[in-house]
């Protein structure tokens, strides 16, 4: 029970965090058809900006500032890089963002060194929110979850309840028509890209302090975020939310399960034979926790290729 509750909490909060990063990615994809490979790099840049800024401004101002800065970086990338290669097609844009992610990772190594940096949550936030089965539950996890939830609600309301949201959603659906009606679609694209980048930066700034901030964090998270977006359905915000939570829960539960296929065979009395074979049969689920999201993605692609909430093709 203890294991179950704690895993549930941790998984949900990790999932919410995943959502905050994937929200921007899925919106940008739905809108511009661009799969932004550099999106997770914005997450990393957010963490590093916050790390540098907090020395001067303190923790919370640094997080806000780095969110804004990453947003500006995103706008810059869209305006001066993506837009220039737009006419070559989507594959080309994908390659360009791929190159950018490569450069950003190298630049981070250049500035901060190729090792994890000492970016921590401030002492004033480092206390337990409540006790659960005798262990302290850190309040910072709750803050992370709260911020992600707030972002989800905010983005959702913005998209569904405001005039700006209507323009954005219609620009996703029929960009030519929206342009013909007199809206500045390139500006809308640029803003969405900037906001998406800022969200990734915010989650990086918030999560980097709790998890590890290192030059590999973009790649590690980036691939998981891709999985989230594919499982949820490209371009769907709700889908991204559901997929993030599922993957968050799976990764947090899998770590503690000590079963393998051998145990399944034992049920049928073939346990000894299976453990004799070893290899893939003897792999414990706990050691596969990093692998399961990819398996889930393959299964989803087989049975429902457009993702949980995606439209058909």
């Amino acid at each position: 029970m203890e294991y179950f509750t704690i895993s549930l909490f941790n998984g949900t909060i990790y999932g919410l965090l995943l959502f905050m990063v994937s929200a921007g990615l899925t919106l940008v994809f739905g809108m511009m058809g661009v799969l932004n490979f550099a999106h997770a790099s914005f997450y990393m840049v957010g963490a590093y900006f916050a790390y540098s800024l907090q020395k001067v401004f303190g923790f919370w101002p640094a997080i806000i500032l780095s969110t804004l800065l990453v947003g500006v970086v995103g706008v810059f990338v869209e305006r001066f890089f993506l837009r220039r290669v737009h006419h070559y097609g989507h594959a080309h844009e994908l390659l360009l963002t791929f190159g950018l992610s490569y450069i950003i990772a190298e630049l981070v190594k250049l500035f901060y060194g190729n090792y994890p940096i000492n970016y921590r949550i401030p002492e004033s936030l480092n206390f337990a929110a409540f006790q659960i089965f005798g262990t302290n539950y850190p309040v910072y996890r709750l803050i992370m979850g709260g911020i992600s939830l707030a972002i989800f609600v905010l983005v959702y309301l913005l998209l569904t309840r405001t005039r700006v949201g209507i323009v954005v959603r219609s620009a996703i659906y029929k960009p030519h028509m929206v342009a013909a009606l007199g809206h500045n679609v390139p500006l809308v694209f640029m803003s969405v890209f900037g906001v998406g980048a800022a969200l990734a930066g915010l989650s990086g700034a918030v999560a980097g302090a709790f998890y590890i901030t290192s030059p590999n964090m973009a790649l590690d998270l980036g691939i998981i975020v891709f999985v989230v977006v594919v499982v949820g359905g490209l371009g769907s915000l709700e889908g991204a939310m559901i997929a993030s939570i599922i993957i968050g829960l799976i990764s947090s539960f899998a770590v503690g399960i000590d079963l393998s296929l051998v145990d399944v065979f034992t049920l049928f009395g073939a346990g000894e034979w299976a453990s004799g074979i070893g290899g893939a049969l003897a792999l414990k689920i706990s050691s596969l926790s990093a692998t399961i999201p990819f398996l889930l993605m393959l299964i989803i692609l087989l049975i429902r290729p457009s993702g949980l909430m995606g439209e058909k093709e």
Binding site: R83, R84, I103, E106, L107, A179, G279, L302
Partner: protein, 439 residues
């Protein structure tokens, strides 16, 4: 024919190389050959089939491990004579490619890219746990045995083994483009819908293409293992997949020779510069971005354009433009390298320590380009800024020159497109809104 003559001369040259080169250089050429084969195999899917794979390191790695097992791991008896070991890599690569290709070619466009990425990452996360096959985190090592009267003890023997396999494989891939199958692969890229309406099984064709590409990637992995006699799970790393994408596109995907050239050039430069700088990967990324933005057809495309403008205009008209363009490239390149190298040195931990020891306002000297530079002095900052802006000015002049050349050309045939350095002014007209169609 002229083209065949060039190829024959080049091949003969490759066979004679070990006579002139030192051991380390033969090794470098060996690496270049392997990288070239890998890029060429990758291009079968990417350039010819139009499917951008981000997970090709998986098949390279699979081929590497298969070859290692065939060679005999940890003193075990090998199952094949050394010269035929890469066959094991190729066969296993092909079979894994069939399965992976069946999955990934179900979708096209960015979905395809993401599936390949996920498959490679799946392997990367599982591999360290499968001790028997991939040797856990430490990896496996083997030993190439003498066979067929050749000892395979020296780099030269390995070089010839690699060379023969690479020539055979690249030759096969080249002739494949002329077969009906090769033509269908092109059609897959250009219009897969039409192909389907014509009655072809597009999914099977895509799977076959993918499997063939994986097969040659596996062959390349096998050759790599024969040369270094060891491997561990890091070959499945994203890094290798990224490298082959970069190499292929820098070379140019539209022409068969492009990826070969790109991989060979980039591997050579990587070898040559890795002693000089720690930021080679950064430069590589910048080169890639520059090519993507201003010269999407790669190195080959650059030479093609040079060739067309040399045909069209006399050298006398062109020389001021070419001179200005080269000066601009040199100045901009130098100021970039200076800035990057200086930042790396100033920000390095060693230097920060030195600076702290030296006291508040004293910055120790940094040696770069054979001379001492002092951070904090004016010259330190003026040099890159000056170089950068004079480079920009030269670029501007070169663009003006180019427009003059074009305006004077009354015939008005727009044969040559703008060369790389003058890409800046094209982009303005590209900024107009182009609808973001969904894939």
């Amino acid at each position: 024919m002229k083209k065949t003559n060039i190829i024959i001369i080049f091949v003969v040259l490759l066979f004679c190389l070990p006579a002139f080169l030192s051991h380390s250089l033969v090794n470098a050429v060996n690496q270049m050959l392997i990288a070239a084969l890998f890029a060429c195999a990758f291009n079968l899917v990417c350039g010819q089939g139009g499917m951008l794979s981000f997970g090709h390191s998986a098949y390279f790695g699979i081929g590497a491990f298969a070859t290692l097992h065939a060679m005999g791991v940890m003193g075990a008896e090998g199952i094949m004579p050394t010269p035929f070991l890469p066959v094991a890599g190729a066969l296993v690569g092909f079979s894994v490619g069939l399965i992976a290709g069946w999955f990934s070619t179900k979708r096209t466009g960015v979905y395809f890219s993401m599936i390949t990425l996920a498959l490679a990452e799946l392997l990367h996360t599982v591999a360290p746990h499968l001790k028997g096959i991939f040797g856990g985190e430490a990896g496996l090592s083997g030993m190439r045995m003498p066979s067929l009267g050749i000892s395979f003890g020296t780099d030269i023997h390995v070089y010839y083994l690699t060379l023969i396999w690479v020539l055979l494989a690249v030759g096969f891939l080249y002739f494949l483009t002329f077969t009906p199958f090769g033509r269908l692969v092109f059609a897959l890229r250009d219009n897969s819908h039409r192909l389907r309406f014509l009655g072809y099984n597009v999914h099977r064709l895509g799977t076959m293409t993918f499997a063939l590409s994986a097969m040659f990637a596996g062959l390349a992995g096998g050759l790599q293992v024969i040369s270094i006699e060891a491997s561990n799970y890091t070959v499945f790393d994203m890094h290798l997949s990224a490298e082959v994408v970069l190499n292929t596109y820098i070379g140019g995907v539209n022409v068969f020779i492009g990826p070969l050239l790109g991989a060979a050039v980039m591997t050579f430069m990587g070898n040559a510069f890795s002693d000089l700088t720690r930021n080679w990967l950064l430069y590589k990324g910048v080169i890639f971005i520059l090519f993507m933005m201003f010269m999407p057809t790669g190195i080959v495309g650059f030479f093609q354009i040079l060739f067309t403008i040399f045909r069209k205009y006399s050298l006398r008209i062109l020389s001021p433009f070419l001179l200005l363009a080269s000066i601009a490239a040199l100045l901009l390149g130098f100021s970039t390298v200076y800035t990057v190298e200086m930042m790396q040195r100033v920000l390095s931990q060693d230097y920060q320590m030195l600076a702290q020891l030296a006291g508040a306002n004293v910055w120790p000297a940094i040696v770069l380009f054979g001379r001492e530079w002092f951070p904090g002095t004016g010259l330190f900052y003026v040099v890159p800024v000056f170089l950068f802006f004079s480079g920009l000015a030269a670029l501007k002049l070169a663009i003006i020159k180019w427009h003059k050349i074009k305006d004077n050309d009354e015939s008005g045939v727009s044969g040559a497109t703008l060369p790389e350095k003058s890409g800046n002014d094209v982009s303005e007209q590209n900024c107009e809104f182009n609808a973001g169609e969904k894939v």
